[in-house]
């Protein structure tokens, strides 16, 4: 992200990019860590209470890493892609598990 210049005003596209990243960090980051918690709890080879506990403990670290990723990557688009792609994979795994367990 560019270092702000206090005298010149910030461009609209810069502001939009920051706003987009903020959303990706707060909402996207939460979605990714929630899905990670869900998937870890479902797949970790532990007793179910231990798996849920471990997954919940780790989810906050995932969230922190996601936020840092969002503000590190080159463009806001890449930030969103980095959040959505793993979310889709995790969501898919959870769905597959849900349907195979139900069958």
């Amino acid at each position: 992200m560019r270092s702000e210049n206090l005298v010149s005003s910030l461009t609209a596209s810069y502001r939009l990019s920051v706003a987009s990243r903020v959303l990706a960090a707060i909402l996207g980051g939460y979605m990714l860590s929630a899905l990670t918690a869900f998937a870890l709890a479902a797949f970790l080879p532990l007793s179910r209470s231990e798996a849920s506990m471990t997954a919940t403990l780790l989810s906050f670290l995932i969230y922190a890493c996601a936020v840092i990723w969002v503000f590190t990557t080159r463009t806001a688009w890449r930030a969103w892609a980095g959040i959505i792609a793993p979310s889709l994979v995790l969501g898919g795994l959870v769905l597959i598990r849900h349907y195979t367990a139900g069958a």
Binding site: R2, S3, E4, V7, A41, M53, L57, F60
Partner: protein, 528 residues
């Protein structure tokens, strides 16, 4: 990002820190005071000066409770400790409160030797500050989410702050005083790095204390909405028993307490809950205290209320549950001896100073630019006012809370609520005062005011109660004397800050280039 990893982290550190900084400051201040919650509660009830704990006192409050609250859903009984030598009791009335439809909670303090109810002033004591620490006096659910959000960004600010520092070890030994912006940066770095393990620990474990509320999805994955089963399996929470609606006589408490002591290597319960007292299906639940253990595991014994038979005992915890319980225990810090508790409190103080110096640094860094252009943007002025209003306003509010405790008449209706109103009134006035003064004057006058309020508290205490230093020092009553002496210390600390704020700034903050340069790059250069 274009300028590279470290610079984008510096940006993230600046802005994530600024947005949540004011709330974090309040959370740090009230959280640090919560290490002394029992002592504060005790000082705010000066009538209890000579109270002392006696073993077996708990059982003596039962007859009183049976008279006062026979139809309560639950009695919560906190046995006396050396830090708070009274029996604190609360109970939920079966009659719903007219105001919000929920069961009404009543509270009482009982003598730890006779079991008689004590007549003490109505106050929330240290409990108010403790609740504020994670609920901010908002609706609990909203307050907890706001604090959780800020804690999450504190974690981000910490990690990005660490990444920003190329020479984290060197920063630790660097302080260049009286050099304006650079001194603020050095101070922020030194305090941040000095207590970094504490900051990381306390932020992460803070999230852990409410993790099932913030992040319920790991539990949902395996239990759906049946969280009760999860808590029973994972943390050994005993399932609730429904009342049978037939009268039953509660067994004597003493044998249950001795049974608990045998199982717990002599440790005593921190909380005794009697579910449905007077019902044939009543339960007595004893929760072990955590004074001698890191882990905050709910070691609970549940007895049948009528027969006194042990029906459930929380056993060994598996690895992940134990990890969570230890992290939780590290946050609450109930285990600590006075010396260790003061170390925690000093680290908490470092946390406050880190947040406060970070907030001030944001302003100081931008001041020269605006001084040159002569145009002060709204955002800059807003940050300045919030900085003054929160960093000086909150201590003033806390002092006002203590003052109100000594000044409000004992018979005032809703007395404890008025103490809390005094807290907020003082805070709002401090914010308003910051609006109408130049920043430097506001800093100086408000820190001076805080110094006067704190330093004169022991005098006010001496004028209004018998629990003052003249008596408590002679008695060796360190709960009361320690509080008063700490107030002198705080007063001196604020006086010192006010004195520093009053001195004219040296010209060291003078910009070295005529054009505004990218600020983060400059900060970078100075750290390198």
């Amino acid at each position: 990002m274009k300028e590279g990893f470290r610079q984008s982290m510096a940006w993230l550190h600046t802005w994530s820190g600024l947005v949540v900084g004011w709330i974090l400051f309040a959370v740090f201040v009230t959280g640090t005071l919560s290490y002394f919650r029992p002592e504060i509660s005790q000082w705010m009830r000066p009538e209890l000066r000579d109270a002392h704990a006696e073993p077996g006192a708990v059982a003596r409050v039962i007859p009183t409770l049976q008279q006062r609250a026979p139809d309560a859903q639950r009695w919560f009984i906190q046995p006396p400790t050396s830090r708070e030598p009274v029996v604190r009791v609360s109970w939920t009335n079966s009659v719903a409160d007219q105001a919000n439809g929920r069961p009404r909670i009543e509270r009482g303090n009982f003598d730890a030797t006779t079991g008689a109810e004590l007549q003490v002033r109505d106050t929330r004591g240290g409990e108010f500050l403790y609740r504020f620490h994670f609920e901010l006096s908002m609706q609990p659910i909203w307050g907890r989410w706001v604090v959780g959000f800020c804690a999450m960004f504190m974690l981000v600010a910490l990690i990005s702050g660490v990444i920003t520092h190329k020479k984290i070890f060197k920063d630790f030994f660097t302080f260049r005083p009286r050099k304006g912006q650079r001194s603020w940066l050095d101070a922020h770095n030194a305090i941040g790095v000095l207590a970094l393990p504490y900051h990381l620990l306390i932020t992460y474990t803070g999230l852990i204390t409410l993790m099932f509320m913030y992040m319920p999805w790991g539990v949902t994955a395996n239990y759906g909405s049946d969280t009760q089963t999860f808590f029973a399996e994972a943390l050994d929470f005993a399932p609730e028993a429904a009342p049978a609606n037939q009268p039953g006589t509660l067994t004597r408490l003493e044998p249950l307490l001795s049974a608990a002591a045998r199982r717990w290597e002599g440790a005593s319960p921190a909380l005794i809950t009697v579910h449905h007292p007077g019902d044939v299906n009543s339960r007595v639940e004893l929760r072990r205290d955590h004074q001698d253990r890191l882990s905050h595991a709910t070691q609970a014994l549940v007895f049948e209320g009528v027969s006194g038979k042990l029906i459930s005992a929380a056993g060994a915890e598996p690895a992940a549950a134990q990890t969570r319980n230890v992290l939780y225990g590290l946050h609450i810090a109930n285990f600590s001896s006075p010396g260790l508790r003061w170390l925690f409190a000093l680290s908490g103080l470092a946390g406050m100073l880190m947040v406060a110096s970070g907030l001030v640094l944001w302003s100081v860094k931008r001041a020269p630019t605006f001084a040159r252009t002569g145009r002060i943007p709204f955002g800059y002025r807003l940050v300045e006012i919030l900085n003054i209003g929160v960093i000086t306003g909150l201590p003033i509010a806390i002092a006002a809370y203590f003052w109100a405790n000594r000044l409000l008449p004992a018979g005032l209706p809703e007395r404890s609520t008025w103490e809390i109103r005094a807290f907020f009134l003082a805070w709002v006035l401090s914010l308003a005062a910051a609006l109408f003064q130049p920043a430097r004057t506001a800093w100086r006058t408000q820190f001076t005011f805080a110094a006067v309020l704190f330093a004169s508290l022991p005098l006010l205490n001496a004028l209004t109660t018998d629990a003052h230093l003249g008596i408590t020092l002679a008695q060796g009553n360190w709960v009361y004397a320690g509080f008063d002496l700490t107030m002198f210390g705080l007063g001196a600390g604020f006086a010192l800050i006010a004195w520093h704020a009053a001195r004219a700034p040296k010209k060291a903050a003078k910009p070295r280039k005529t054009r505004a340069e990218p600020l983060m790059a400059r900060a970078e250069a100075e750290q390198a």
